[in-house]
């Protein structure tokens, strides 16, 4: 790939998804876009590049953008954040939202659904303490293709063995040939929507808990700041923000700070931290 193609494609990706790729990732562009070139029946990568340069085929641009995202996800990824959700976030919300008996969770780059379904299973397990509550889990992603998979709730044997406790597999999945289907009662707890994190999340409403995991890493600093600012604006003072294991708010956002003693969960400054302290006791 020549330099001008590289520049043109990375500009498209940056504008459309926030993805930032350095020069050493040029190989990644070719390896992920070659299948797109074949699907669109271009003779080779160069022909795909020429079509992109015209920039007038929205569907092609979207395909290219989606092909470049990394969709890897696991159930209960890194386990600790979900333990903390059970031990700290949920008890706080049950307490603090007792009068309105409702709260909203956003899985903001949900990929194939493992993250929102993990949360749904935790809520289901909480059973009686949440009976009569209205809890919304909104799960969004840029990629419509991956959202389709999420919505279907069908996973391979490999996928259900990464992070999912065996009791949950037995309780919440049904085997259909090679695939493991998530139980409709769990699937129905999650609402899927296409949403680009580069847009203002105001239209989605406010969220008490936001899972924004393993997606900021792909963005540049200004984009990270912008995304976090949008989330902060649409969160109550005692809301909770989750980032991925390799992500931080340090130097990116003045709105959030780590909840004391809880690696990986952030609260709004200053009242978010105060609320969490009262939840921890």
């Amino acid at each position: 790939m020549n330099v001008s193609d590289f520049d043109m494609i990375t500009r498209i990706l940056r504008e459309r998804s926030g993805l930032v790729l350095s020069k050493d990732k040029a190989y990644l562009i070719e390896s992920r876009l070659n299948p797109v070139a074949r699907k669109w029946q271009f003779k080779n990568f160069d022909d795909l590049a020429s079509a992109l340069r015209l920039g007038n085929d929205e569907k092609l641009l979207r395909d290219v953008t989606e092909a470049m995202t990394t969709n890897e996800s696991f159930f209960f990824r890194d386990s600790k954040p979900f333990d903390q959700f059970k031990a700290i976030v949920l008890p706080h919300l049950i307490n603090a939202r007792a009068s309105k008996r409702s709260f909203r969770i956003w899985s903001a780059a949900c990929s194939s659904g493992q993250e929102p379904y993990s949360l749904a299973m935790i809520l289901k397990e909480a059973g009686a303490s949440l009976s009569g509550w209205r809890i919304e889990i909104v799960a969004t992603d840029l990629s419509t293709e991956i959202l389709q998979k999420a919505q279907e709730g069908a996973y391979s044997q490999f996928e259900v063995q990464r992070g999912l406790p065996i009791e949950y597999l037995v309780k919440y999945f049904k085997q259909e040939g090679e695939r493991w289907m998530i139980d409709p009662s769990i699937r129905q707890m999650v609402t899927y929507k296409t949403f680009n994190l580069l847009e203002d999340p105001m239209a989605l409403g406010t969220f008490d808990v936001v899972f924004l995991r393993n997606v900021l890493i792909y963005f540049d600093q200004p984009t990270k700041s912008q995304v976090l600012a949008g989330i902060a604006r649409n969160m109550p003072a005692d809301g909770f923000l989750y980032l991925g294991g390799a992500e931080t708010v340090l130097g990116i956002s003045d709105s959030f700070q780590l909840i004391p003693g809880q690696r990986g969960i952030y609260g709004l400054i200053p009242s978010g931290a105060a609320a969490a302290k009262s939840a921890v006791g």
Binding site: S79, Q161, R162, I166, V170, Q175
Partner: protein, 121 residues
């Protein structure tokens, strides 16, 4: 260092499992069938057992039931690792006292994920 007893009638599987588990800083002991596994447990109870289902002499599930019926021992964590990949087998394993269940083929990621879920890592 925690000890894991690998029970499988296939030498290749035992070897692969040993490599992975040693990579996770576990000490590995091997057995070829359920009876041998019970003997190993009588000599010295491991912290964990990685257990195949179908084996000559004594199957994994028979071994598990015999193991769980032993009183006055510190019970190890038992993780099945088998080609039996249907819900009925999984349920039978859990109700017989298995802590986790791996469906073959497995790789180091699955072993690591399952072992850390049950608190072995």
């Amino acid at each position: 260092m925690k000890t894991c007893l690998v029970v499988d009638d296939s030498r290749v599987v035992r070897m692969v499992a040993r490599k992975i588990l040693e990579g996770l800083s576990m000490k590995v002991v091997e057995a070829e069938d359920g009876q041998q596994a019970l003997d190993r447990c009588d000599e010295s109870m491991p912290d964990a057992v990685l257990l195949d289902w179908n084996m000559p002499v004594m199957s994994g599930i028979e071994f598990l039931r015999a193991l769980r019926s032993k009183a006055d021992v510190t019970q190890p964590i038992v993780v099945f690792c088998t080609t039996e990949n249907d819900m009925a087998h999984i349920q039978e394993a859990i109700s017989s006292g298995a802590n986790e269940y791996i469906m073959k083929p497995f790789d180091s990621e699955i072993i690591e994920s399952k072992f850390s879920q049950v608190g072995l890592l």
